[in-house]
């Protein structure tokens, strides 16, 4: 379980899903410092506020996907922990996508998040495996 007040940004284009996830994580005592559907807003926010964790949806509608965003976030902030959520279940399809993820990023199939503990555990793992985590 991540420490309370771990500062998290969340990027999810579906509002229903975003608000549900946000409520569940807050309920677990985590600090969702910013949630948005917009990639550019997420980048701008993280440049200024340097959150510790980013929870990203893979499919963000038109434009970049969660992997594009993860790469950029890492470029701007090499120690940010990243968890990618995806609705895919087929391992073969998933593998081709997650292989492009930056080092130490974690991914989760969205359905498994119905138990919110699964997500918080994955956030924990992502923090531990993020590069240069001592600087956090």
């Amino acid at each position: 379980m991540p420490k309370n007040k771990t500062r998290i940004i969340m990027v999810e284009d579906d509002e229903f899903t975003r608000t549900t996830l946000k409520a569940a994580l807050i309920n677990q005592g985590l600090d969702i410092v910013f949630d948005t559907a917009s990639v550019s807003e997420a980048i701008e926010f993280s440049k200024v506020h340097r959150p510790e964790v980013a929870v990203l949806d893979y499919n963000l509608g038109k434009g970049p996907n969660g992997i594009d965003l993860a790469i950029q976030l890492r470029r701007n902030q090499p120690n940010i922990a990243i968890v990618l959520l995806t609705a895919f279940l087929d391992p073969a399809q998933l593998q081709s996508k997650i292989s492009q993820l930056p080092e130490g990023c974690k991914y989760l199939i969205k359905h498994s998040v119905t138990k919110i503990g699964v997500l918080t555990a994955e956030i924990d793992k992502a923090i531990l495996s993020a590069p240069n985590r001592s600087r956090l």
Binding site: D13, D14, F16, T17, T20, L21, A23, A24, N27, S38, V39, S40, A42, I43, E44, D57, N59, L60, G61, K62, G63, P64, D68, L69, Q72, T86, A87, F88, L89, D90, Q93, K110, H111, V113, T114, K115, I116
Partner: protein
């Protein structure tokens, strides 16, 4: 350039190129082998075949030596008489080799005078013809490439405007849509069955299982897989293999080229004369030649004139009639030979039937048809508005378009199913779980109602909103801001265009940009959109990609299919200095 005999004796210089002459050597050896089959050589056919094989290899070595010499002397262009000199030198050496080989293989030789005449025919005519064809092959290919591009574009445009296209479009979408509705309905019924009896909260564990949406997951995976399936062939995506184009378009190409720039009647006669000359030289003495050749040549010239008249008549049956006449023309030597044999039987000139009655007319027919089609000046003259695709080509392009549409729609729907429906199912699962843990019946019920509403109309949010070009550009580019710098230059006159083609435009620019960032790791992009003619626009994107794009992709991916569909095959990608440039032209009016 023309592959016309009169031009062979022009004074212009011809590029030195030996590639086609290798085929020429093979054809000459074969024709000499076949023409020598009358009578005597039958007994030694195996040894004779071996002789021609060794002789062919010897000629190839001579050509290799010649090529090396010309390269060493840095000679790149030659005049016709210089080609003749080289031709006579090659065929002269060939003659010496033949006579030596004939002794070695114990084959009876033709006499030296006849041998010299044949060598001269090869040196003066065949060698230069093949050398000229070699030198001009790039020009021929260029004209065909240009013809092919115009043909594919015009066929794609007419296909897209046709009812067939709309039917394909609708049927593919309908199939996916129906499958989605069916799966959603089943899911809704399963949830309904559980919630209609008993305690709502107690049904949570079973509802969670249903919310996995296995049927929808399977559908999404299937769509995603089929959208990612690559094709290793490039045929008809943007271009057609040269030979495939010739075969598919043969009849139309022949009619069009023959109408615009027909072969001359003298060409028909001369080619036949050159084809039968070795037979005459080998097997006829001077007296017989004087008796039999003039009436044959006269008949050939008269028939040749009739052939060109029939082609020029442009009548409905011109293709059929001229084809029959060309076959008849090619059969004249056979007819005369049979008459001659009836009057004065002679074993030496009694050619095998298959050779003179079948092989010669058919070879001649094929040669004349291809000579007409390969006349680049004629191909170049075919105007865009006159281009007509054959039924075979239309069918191929229609299949390719259907394939591109299926891939593109599968991709769009796969994204929709897993990005919207499956995501919502998972979020609902989480919301129900939270409500369950807090014994919040109202919250549980609200979550259920929300998902049931979505399952009622699962395709409702798939439809695209039509925007004007300015807004479409913004919705496609804005999400990328922050990941890279995009500079845009868009003609103001285009900004207010609003029709169904605008979303295709949007899809193209999004695909270009995602390629730039994902494959090229670009940081800066310049997008230019300009008016192109009355009904089209031109998109040019330049980026600072660190890697050059593949010039000859070996696999067709989703991006390629999108570009082909949007532009009707008119797009290209190239490396200019340290930039990658993407260029696309598309119809923007409906």
């Amino acid at each position: 350039m023309q592959i016309n005999l009169p031009l062979v004796i022009s004074r212009r210089e011809h590029k030195v190129d030996f590639t086609v002459i290798i085929i020429g050597i093979f054809l000459l050896e074969t024709s000499i082998f076949v023409s020598a089959l009358s009578g005597a050589q039958y007994q030694n056919i195996k040894r004779y075949l071996l002789l021609r094989l060794v002789h062919g290899i010897f000629l190839l070595l001579v050509l290799l030596a010649l090529k090396s010499y010309l390269k060493f002397r840095k000679i790149e262009y030659l005049k016709y008489f210089q080609l003749v000199t080289l031709g006579i030198l090659t065929s002269g050496l060939g003659l010496i080799a033949y006579r030596g080989l004939a002794d070695f293989f114990e084959i009876s030789k033709i006499d030296l005078t006849h041998n010299l005449l044949i060598a001269l025919l090869q040196g003066i005519f065949w060698f230069p013809v093949f050398m000229i064809a070699s030198g001009d092959k790039n020009q021929i290919l260029h004209y065909f490439k240009s013809y092919e591009e115009r043909l594919i574009t015009s066929t794609r445009i007419s296909m897209r405007e046709s009812e067939v296209y709309k039917e394909i479009q609708q049927s593919i979408q309908l199939e996916i849509r129906n499958e989605l509705i069916k799966q959603a309905q089943m899911l809704k019924e399963e949830i309904g069955n559980l919630t209609s009896n008993g305690n709502l909260l107690e049904s949570n564990p079973r509802i969670q299982k249903i919310l996995l949406g296995n049927g929808l997951r399977e559908l999404s995976s299937r769509l995603e897989k089929s959208s990612e399936e690559g094709s290793r062939t490039w045929v008809l995506g943007q271009d057609i293999h040269f030979f495939s184009l010739l075969i598919k378009q043969f009849r139309i190409l022949y009619q069009e080229t023959a109408k615009i720039d027909p072969l001359k009647s003298s060409t028909y006669s001369l080619i036949l004369l050159v084809l039968i000359a070795p037979g005459f030289i080998n097997n006829f003495d001077l007296r017989t030649t004087i008796i039999y050749l003039p009436p044959l040549v006269l008949a050939m010239f008269i028939t040749s004139i009739i052939v060109t008249k029939v082609i020029a008549s442009n009548s409905k049956n011109a293709f059929r009639d001229s084809s029959l006449l060309i076959l008849f023309l090619g059969s004249l030597p056979f007819l005369e030979n049979r008459i001659g044999q009836a009057i004065t039987p002679n074993e030496a000139t009694n050619f095998p039937l298959f050779l003179i009655a079948i092989f010669l007319p058919l070879s001649y027919y094929v040669i004349m048809k291809f000579l007409q089609i390969l006349k680049p000046s004629a191909v170049a003259l075919i105007k865009e508005n006159e281009i007509v695709a054959s039924k075979a080509l239309e069918k191929s392009i229609s299949q390719i378009i259907a394939n591109e549409l299926a891939h593109t729609y599968s991709h769009r729907w796969a994204i929709y199913v897993h990005g919207k429906i499956l995501t919502r199912l998972a979020a609902t699962g989480l919301r129900l779980e939270l409500a369950y843990s807090q014994s919040d019946i109202a919250g549980f019920n609200a979550g259920l109602q929300a998902i049931l509403e979505l399952l009622d109309n699962p395709d409702e949010q798939f439809g695209q909103i039509t925007l004007n070009l300015k807004s479409e550009t913004a919705t496609r580019l804005d999400p990328w801001m922050g990941l890279l710098h995009i500079h845009t230059e868009i003609d103001q006159s285009l900004e207010l265009i609003e029709n169904s083609r605008v979303s295709d435009y949007g899809e193209a620019i999004e695909e270009i940009i995602s390629n730039s960032i994902r494959h090229g790791k670009a940081q800066n992009i310049t997008l230019r959109v300009k008016q192109h003619g009355e009904k089209e626009l031109e998109i040019t994107v330049e980026d600072d990609s660190t890697t050059a794009p593949p010039i000859h992709p070996t696999r067709i991916g989703l991006g390629t299919r999108i570009f082909n569909l949007v532009s009707d095959g008119r797009w290209s990608i190239s490396r200019v200095g340290s930039s990658t440039r993407f260029h696309l032209v598309m119809l923007i009016s409906e």
